[in-house]
């Protein structure tokens, strides 16, 4: 059971790290700001989300597991809304 949980953690954390990698590659390689914003949100939403998911089995208590989830939800919420605002600022800047 423990080994299974560890395996789950390793898989989730590796996947999360991969999304950070993908996000950074996107930031470096994509041609304009809007597509770079698209790449960034992958790191935000999936990268941190998967890392938090992977750490949940190792949490000391139910409360710290809950906190991990709240952290992720907060980042999702702010990332989503600020991306919207950043996109708007970009579009206005281009006009």
């Amino acid at each position: 059971m423990i080994a299974l949980l560890d395996l789950f953690s390793i898989a989730a954390i590796s996947a999360g790290t991969f999304f950070f990698l993908a996000g950074t590659v996107g930031l470096l390689r994509f041609p304009d700001s809007l597509t770079r914003l698209h790449a960034l949100t992958k790191a935000d939403n999936l990268g941190l989300g998967l890392v938090a998911l992977g750490l949940i089995p190792h949490a000391d208590s139910a409360l710290s597991a809950l906190k991990l989830i709240v952290i992720w939800v907060l980042v999702l919420l702010s990332g989503g809304s600020t991306s919207q605002l950043i996109g708007r600022a970009l579009r206005r800047g281009r006009k």
């Binding site: 953690s9 390793i10 950070f20 950074t24 930031l27 935000d44 952290i71 980042v75 990332g79 206005r92």
Partner: protein
Amino acid sequence: MNELLLAAAGLIVLMVAIGLARILLGSNDVERLMAVQLLGTGGIAALLLIAQATNVPGVEDVALGLALLAAFASIAFINLLDVDQGDAEA
């Protein structure tokens, strides 16, 4: 297991550092804002991983605070940026 957590944290920090350098040095203000957002997210992820590996207590609370503050900083910067744009149009 700990080595793995640290390796993941190191990789994330490295990625974030590359993104940060690329954007801070290169381009416009909006993209600089995106770099800070990436740093906030990546930093929180790395923080959680390192805390798990080195057994520093109470780091979830710090990460919670950081998540709040990253959102706070983004709002402040955006507030300023689109005020600027608005002025340009008026």
